[in-house]
Amino acid sequence: MYLLGNVLVVGLVVGGVSPKSAAAQSAGRIEQLSGTTTPEYVVPRTPDGVPDLEGFWTNQTYTPLERPSEVNKAFYTVEEAAEIEEGRFEREVAQTSPGTIPDVHYDFTQFGLDRSQSTFARSLRTSLIVDPPTGRLPPLNTIGLERARKVMEERERIGGRWDAAENNQLDDRCIIMRGAGPPMLNAGYNANYHIVQNADYVMILVEMIHDARIIPLDGRRYPSGRVRHWMGLPRGYWEGDSLVVETANFNGKNPLEGSSDQLRVIERFTRVSDDTILYKFTVADPDTWDRSWTAEMSMKKTIGPLFEHACHEGNYGLYNTLVGARLEDRKADEEDGLQGPEE
């Protein structure tokens, strides 16, 4: 435990323990985040002389992006935070209780996918968003609202989820995870990253759907606006001991909280201790919000390696559910046929 300005900072990594015991151990070791590195911490360097961010990291957290509506402060007390974590642990453990509805889904705790068994960054923050000070997203502007309305209309038009593969969420289709980023948000589980650096690039491998972000550091320009990616095109540089990554040229097909293809994301990675990278990002999109917003969270050192997440290759779920839906359709048609046309 050490003091940073007037902010109390306590680091903690929970790993490889049973959910109950993790919850029991959790009280009292929770950190607040701060935008600066501790003066006494000497950032390790790669042989190229730049800050060393290499290794396996996770930004798994229980802290929501937006402050819950019933909360009107930026930080919980340690006791409040511990109680919230305890509640989340219990909900995850409940998923393994035989005969319960959650049990029908994956057994998260058996496969170690639950947060209570993974390393995770603990925080007293009531939201990841630090600006606006409300801890909440700015309201959608008129362009953003109009787009949201069109999205809803289109959703109505295309029909039900099981009418076609493309009616499903992008992650169920194994195209991209919602939290793949940037910004890299912890979308559910396996919020693990592998960072590898050379002199000219930083590579961040997102475990889910093996999405590698290849970030050039050579000051090159963005390509033509006709070249647009699901994850945008990143450009990086070192600013002091921070890696800054600016991403543009998004295709807008995986919107972040309603964003458009005009989204721009600026991320800042700063190693603040041996086991922590402070991950701060600012999001701007004039076609969605009238102001930018900023959030911050920790990336905690975790154990590797990352295994291949071949999502599409093993996507039997989507295929078989569609097969089931068409069988149901046929059965319904046959029953209608038996009853004959209504007089």
Binding site: A164, R173, I175, N198, M203, I214, R220
Partner: protein, 273 residues
């Protein structure tokens, strides 16, 4: 007696010629190997964006040009000829495996796993008509492929056995002088070598050797072992060329979206869409 002498002399000549040939092979390799640029870790520096040229991704064995299997694509879908990259020209299949390869070829439009945007496996990913990027870190070397965003992590220090089988396998690497040697195992047996049905089982073991021949060219040699499918180990070799455009960059080829209609289209409720 005289015949015997002739036979002995002939044999000596053959031996000497093959000795010369092997000398030639060795010397040509050593003379064209260069001392590559070094990373700050003093290892050869292979960082960069590389790509194989040629038409071997259609068929790693020698083949003449042929019409494509999708009629509507005409000349654009036709298969260009290739001299092949297999040592000796022919893959040494076991007889029953050769039957399956030929069957794969006949059914390649439905069986080739890459058509469905599945991870292409190793070594196929290396010589597909897409660039790859090498990023050398301190304990891992990443080989990142544009096709399907396929990723290989080469473990240089923290090496383990494959924890489970996978599409791209589990790769451990080491430096042998100027050469990066990568041994990959732990395959799931669901990938192919090319578009012509050449295949392997989950017993595949791949040993790749990458050596700089010039600042702009790597030699890529790969040894294939799979006792279930082949009668003996066999080799392929080809150059990998540096993509020299100053703005060269791996672009997204997130092909899952492009194959949804192929895989799930027949399961759509409204077939008129």
């Amino acid at each position: 007696m005289r015949q015997k002498h002739v036979a002995v002399i002939a044999r000596v000549v053959v031996l000497f010629c093959s000795f010369l040939l092997s000398m030639e092979e060795v010397s040509s390799q050593s003379s064209s190997s260069i001392s590559a640029a070094r990373t700050p870790n003093e290892t050869p520096d292979f960082n960069g964006i590389w790509q194989a040229l040629g038409n071997n991704y259609w068929n790693v064995e020698p083949h003449a040009a042929s019409p494509g299997i999708v009629r509507g694509l005409g000349a654009l879908g036709a298969v260009p000829g290739g001299l092949g990259v297999v040592d000796g020209g022919v893959i040494p299949y076991r007889s029953e495996a050769l039957v399956r390869r030929n069957d794969n070829f006949s059914n390649r439009l439905t069986r080739d796993p890459a058509i469905k945007c599945y991870l292409p496996g190793v070594p196929r990913a290396t010589y597909m008509p897409f660039p790859l990027q090498i990023i050398q870190g301190q304990s891992h070397i990443m080989i990142l492929h544009e096709f399907a965003g396929a990723v290989r992590t080469i473990y240089m220090t923290d090496q383990t056995e494959a924890p489970a089988s996978s599409w791209m396998g589990w790769s451990n690497g080491r430096w042998e002088g100027e050469t990066l040697v990568i041994e990959t195992t732990g395959f799931n047996g669901m990938t192919w070598f090319d578009r012509a049905g050449n295949y392997h089982s989950d017993q595949l073991r791949v040993v790749e050797r990458l050596t700089a021949r010039s600042p702009e060219r790597l030699s890529y040699e790969v040894k294939i072992e799979d006792p279930i499918v082949f009668t003996r180990p066999w080799k392929m070799s080809m150059p990998l060329y540096r993509r020299a455009e100053s703005n060269a960059e791996l672009l997204e080829f997130r092909c899952v979206e492009f194959v949804e209609d192929l895989i799930y289209g027949h399961l759509r409720k409204d077939q008129s869409r």
